[in-house]
């Protein structure tokens, strides 16, 4: 596991940036925040494309950037890879030569580099397109080629700037499966809360070029520091299997869907769509289940209730209805959600082995 230590400031043009965090035991860190909040600059600092004006950047025990001592490791000597948004595949090289590029940079002979590249391509199921040029590839293939190339360097830290933002749903699934199977420490900029929930174990939240929150996924989601954060994470994700209109969670709870699906799927729904009741609800909601209140968090006239039971999820309700329900920690309660609020995310292909 790779540890990142960053505490420092920098300036680009008129904009000032201030970052401070220590990754500790986090292996998959998602970087989230509004547009222009300094996410990409954070990655560029760690990659060595921007420099600190003061402070310290360390990866494991290596000082990469410390203006006070004059230490600065240039980008090409850092054991990290930054994959730009869009992948930055070299348009003048074939897929094979793109993936061979990091091997060549490690002073392997051309033939050795190609052999190593072929192994990598095979692992990513890209061997059949090795002779193609980037402009002949689909968006999903570009996504996989850039990941294969980034990993061919065998970085100690892989940084991805919105790796799936330009991909179709099927390719997003493929890229997610690759990322889930990785053991490399990951720093991932994402605009997609589902991606964050699926791939990360901790969160760096940025706002106005500062880190406003850093912590384990669970703790950040249960106590988002800002309005933007609570909106971003107003989302529950449950995995299970679908057959027809029925969705069975991994824990065995059955929920009704509004459209037919089959196979392994994930279901997402906003926490504000979950209603809470003291007794088994009657009426139109098709889905109801019993749960225990595990935590409560009040903010801006809204209460975020964490429910545990056959599956865990959040419900957001207003303070008046919270008072009416007389909810306390540990109390048992009924939750319900309309089938139309359940958003199904289908995994396109079987999991890689």
């Amino acid at each position: 596991m790779t540890e990142i230590f960053l505490s420092g400031r920098t300036q680009l043009g008129l904009e000032e940036f201030e970052y401070s965090f220590e990754s500790n035991s986090s292996k998959r860190i998602a970087v989230v925040g509004p547009n222009g909040s300094g996410k990409t600059t954070l990655l560029r600092l760690i990659a060595g494309h921007n420099r600190l004006h003061s402070g310290l950047l360390k990866i494991d025990d290596y000082v990469y950037d410390e203006p006070a001592s004059g230490n600065f490791t240039p980008a090409h000597r850092r054991k990290v890879t930054l994959q730009h948004q869009g992948g930055s595949i070299f348009p003048h090289l074939t897929v094979e030569d793109n993936v061979a590029f990091p091997y060549r940079s490690k002073r392997n002979s051309k033939r050795k580099a190609r052999t190593l590249a072929s192994e990598t391509l095979e692992a990513f199921d890209l061997l059949q397109i090795k002779d193609k040029y980037p402009n002949q590839l689909s968006g999903g293939q570009v996504g996989r080629v850039s990941l294969a190339r980034s990993l061919a360097k065998q970085p100690e830290l892989l940084m991805l700037d919105e790796p799936t933002s330009a991909l179709d749903i099927e390719s997003v699934g493929q890229v997610h499966q690759i990322l889930q199977s990785l053991t490399t420490t990951l720093l991932l900029v994402s605009h997609d809360p589902i991606e964050v929930l699926k791939l990360s174990d901790s969160i760096i939240a940025l706002e106005e070029n500062k880190i406003i929150q850093f912590g384990a996924l669970e703790s950040v989601i249960s106590r988002p520091a800002t309005q933007w954060m609570s909106k971003f994470f107003d989302l529950n994700l449950v995995s299970g299997t679908a057959s027809g209109l029925e969705f069975k969670t991994d824990s065995g709870e059955i929920l009704q869907l509004s459209q037919s699906y089959s196979g392994n799927v994930e279901v997402s729904f906003p926490s504000s769509a979950v209603s809470l009741h003291l007794s088994p609800p009657t009426g139109s909601p098709r889905n109801k289940w019993k749960a225990t209140v595990a935590s409560l968090d009040t903010k801006d006239n809204l209460v975020r209730v964490k429910l545990v039971g056959t599956f865990d999820c959040y419900a957001t309700i207003t303070v008046p209805s919270f008072n009416e329900l007389e909810i306390v920690l540990g109390s048992t309660i009924w939750a319900s959600i309309k089938a139309t609020e359940l958003n199904v995310l289908q995994n396109p292909i079987p999991a890689r082995t």
């Binding site: 494309h49 240039p74 980008a75 090409h76 730009h84 869009g86 930055s88 070299f90 003048h92 060549r104």
Partner: protein, 263 residues
């Protein structure tokens, strides 16, 4: 494209037509008066053949020199940031706007037999540039280098810097990045620059005759041959003129097809 063409106002069309006619008329006049029947005979005359081969040799050597000097120069102008950059750029582009005669004069006083550098070259190596093919190459390179540099600089400025960053990210040193990523991506503009500077060197007259003089064996390129013929043999002058139009036009047509219109 169609809609853009249609949206051009009539008055602009009229202005463009006059401009085009202005450029076209001299060539029509030349081709009308040219003694086409003696074209092959004149072009295959020994002195003309000599001029053609001298022109080709000088233009090609000069394009090669532009390639070697122009890539680093264009790259620095595009990427570097230092005090006096604008002055350096102005000096680099100077030969483009300077009358070639003035450029040739400047070369003469620097590299001529009595020039402050030429004198030393003469006394140390026994080499003099004036009246030699090498001198003509120097003159041609001097006037055509800016064309090459401009071509490199403009596309180096537009180069996607993320690709170069990606190369560094993947462990390639800056110099390796330059040769394996930047240069290949500049391929089209390098080609265009070579063709442009080659064509410019081919047509070079003023600086050549001022600096390298008119030596039938060493420096009398096609433009010099044309100039000489104008006073002694107008028919030959016209045919050489036609020949140069044909060469230049074919260079430009090739350029448009392949490199100037790119991406």
């Amino acid at each position: 494209m169609e809609t853009q063409k249609n949206s051009v106002p009539k008055i602009i069309w009229a202005g463009a037509s006059i401009g085009f006619t202005f450029l076209l008329v001299p060539f029509v006049g030349l081709s009308q008066r040219a003694p086409w029947s003696s074209f092959v005979q004149i072009v295959t005359e020994e002195t003309v053949l000599k001029s053609i081969s001298l022109s080709m040799i000088i233009a090609t050597c000069s394009a090669f020199i532009c390639l070697i000097l122009g890539i680093p120069l264009g790259w620095v102008l595009a990427k570097a940031d230092f005090r006096g950059l604008k002055l350096v750029r102005a000096i680099v582009l100077l030969p483009m706007v300077l009358p070639p005669v003035a450029g040739g004069t400047a070369l003469l006083f620097a590299l001529g037999r009595k020039g402050f550098i030429g004198e030393k070259i003469d006394s140390w190596f026994g080499v003099t540039l004036p009246f030699t093919t090498a001198g003509a190459v120097v003159a041609a390179s001097f006037v055509s280098l800016p064309f090459f540099v401009l071509s490199i600089e403009s596309s180096a400025t537009q180069l996607d810097s993320q690709l170069e960053e990606a190369s560094l990210n993947l462990g390639a040193t800056p110099i390796r990045t330059f040769f394996t990523v930047s240069l290949p991506l500049l391929r089209n503009s390098i080609m265009a620059g070579v063709a442009l500077s080659w064509a410019r060197a081919l047509g070079e007259f003023g600086a050549t005759i001022t600096f390298a003089g008119d030596n039938p064996e060493q420096t009398r390129t096609l433009p010099l041959q044309l100039f000489v013929a104008l006073e002694t043999n107008p028919e030959r002058a016209m045919i050489i003129g036609v020949l140069m139009v044909m060469i230049s036009l074919s260079v430009l047509v090739t350029l448009r097809g392949n490199w100037l219109v790119q991406r």
